[in-house]
């Protein structure tokens, strides 16, 4: 016996919303899903008329739905924004090469300009080559650090005002949990922000921040959006995997857990007197960094010197290597008299 739509539109419900428990028909679900993202965008003041917005597009479900919904809402509510697709080719054979075909299709389907930037052209290394050096452990750390900066560079190339990423409610709740588990207070504070921006960097926003993964996948399914869903061929991010499994188990018992965790993250306050890392610019490449030299430059230096574990190894080793980098750099100017570089933390970067 079919269950009627909770909105009493007379149609048959096709899905139970995890957020509200409502049973909705296809049309009422589309409307509710899109309206909530519209509310997120307007209440969070994510865009201004005239903004050029790059969508970080991987070909996966989240960015595919994001591109489709942003295009739809921009037309429906006249945001007056220019949308672009920005993709990063990490150089992972059998994974990214296939997913980029999906992005190409998004470009054609949605009529949005596409820019693809590769690790090879940015850093001189593909992920395949990096994994050949460092093995399959820790490669997610490299990939994550490089991708973040690659998106910034691509956005600068396109001259956009904002990068919109497909992070959904599940991703953000997962990151809150991970930052708690790692005691990473700086990122715990930052990771729930709907807009992140620094002095010189292009702002980023997350229009799907309150959208459940279940609804994103259902939306893509019922709208017949084409997305790419193969697991990365390299070892998965094991720590995130545990947080994810835990979260999914919680969601089954109480679906609101996901929003509740985000709420906790948003309202947490760090007590006075806790020292947080300052944000500044990398002295090598000029991008935002919490250290003198950013993580991407350290990792790259390690790769180029044949010390691939540099960015993920012991901080004392990093310090020694950094001193030597600094000496190399300023030998001509100060004959090695420049001051010691700061200690580098050895944590993964998330967000």
């Amino acid at each position: 016996m079919p269950i009627p739509c909770s909105r009493q539109c007379g149609k048959k419900a096709i899905l139970k919303r995890p957020k509200t428990g409502h049973a909705l028909c296809k049309e009422c679900f589309f409307y509710a899903f899109e309206s909530e993202i519209h509310n997120t965008i307007t209440q969070g003041k994510l865009f201004k008329p005239g903004d050029k917005v790059a969508i970080g597009a991987s070909g996966g479900k989240d960015s595919t739905v994001l591109a489709y919904v942003l295009k739809t809402l921009n037309e429906r509510y006249q945001y007056g924004i220019d949308l672009f697709l920005l993709s990063i080719d990490e150089g992972i054979t059998g994974y990214r090469d296939d997913s980029l075909k999906t992005v190409q299709q998004n470009k054609d389907d949605y009529g949005l300009p596409l820019k693809i930037l590769s690790y090879k052209e940015l850093y001189g290394w593909t992920m395949d080559e990096i994994v050949a050096e460092i093995g399959k452990k820790n490669n997610c750390t490299f990939c994550g650090v490089f991708r973040r900066q690659a998106l910034d560079r691509g956005a600068a190339f396109l001259g956009v005002d904002c990068i919109a990423t497909g992070h959904n409610a599940d991703d953000i709740a997962e990151t809150v949990l991970m930052n708690i588990l790692r005691g990473d207070i700086a990122r715990l504070q930052r990771c729930t922000s709907i807009i992140t921006a620094g002095a010189d960097c292009i702002r980023r926003c997350k229009p799907l921040k309150y959208a459940y993964e279940k609804e994103i996948v259902m939306y893509a399914y019922f709208k017949q959006l084409v997305y790419f869903s193969t697991e990365c061929v390299f070892a998965p991010n094991a720590y995130r995997g545990h947080a994810r499994t835990y979260l999914k188990d919680l969601e089954r018992i109480r679906p609101s857990s996901i929003l509740d965790i985000i709420h906790s993250g948003e309202t947490l306050q760090v007590k006075e007197g806790i020292k947080l890392p300052e944000r500044r610019n990398c002295s090598r490449c000029g991008f935002v960094s919490s250290q003198e030299i950013c993580k991407a430059c350290i990792m790259l230096e390690g790769l180029n010197r044949g010390l691939p574990k540099l960015g993920i190894g012991k901080s004392t080793k990093v310090k020694r290597a950094l001193e030597s980098i600094a000496k190399d750099k300023c030998n001509d100017k100060c004959n090695g008299k420049c001051k010691d570089n700061e200690r580098i933390e050895e944590k993964d970067l998330e967000f």
Binding site: K16, S58, E213, M218, Y227, E231
Partner: protein, 102 residues
């Protein structure tokens, strides 16, 4: 009517990466013996007869692994009693993983 006595036929569809566990095939037309089939019973049958690898990525305890969505004739199984839903001949049962890609 002979189908009734010999069992039921259902179409099993897999998407969102769940097909990777099932020989990379997105659609399986199967005949199930007898008439008394719930989705829960089907899950175990799929695990024994169709699943090719890593059963822990498909099932957890006596249901699907959290994060796999199930639709019966394009309706969320959460509206239909989940594992207790009684399968009818001709049903299409879709499993979509939300856990892949990004």
């Amino acid at each position: 009517m002979s189908i009734e006595s010999n069992g039921i036929s259902v179409i099993i569809e897999l998407g969102g990466g769940a097909e990777l566990l099932f020989d990379k095939r997105k659609k399986h037309s199967v005949n199930l013996p007898g008439n008394d089939w719930t989705i829960q019973k089907l899950l175990f049958w799929m695990k024994d007869n169709l699943l090719k690898e890593r059963p822990e990525l498909f099932m957890q305890d006596d249901t699907v692994r959290p994060g796999i969505l199930v639709l019966v004739n394009d309706t969320d199984w959460e509206l239909l009693g989940e594992g207790n839903y009684k399968i009818n001949s001709g049903d299409t049962i879709m499993f979509i993983s939300t856990l892949h890609g990004g």
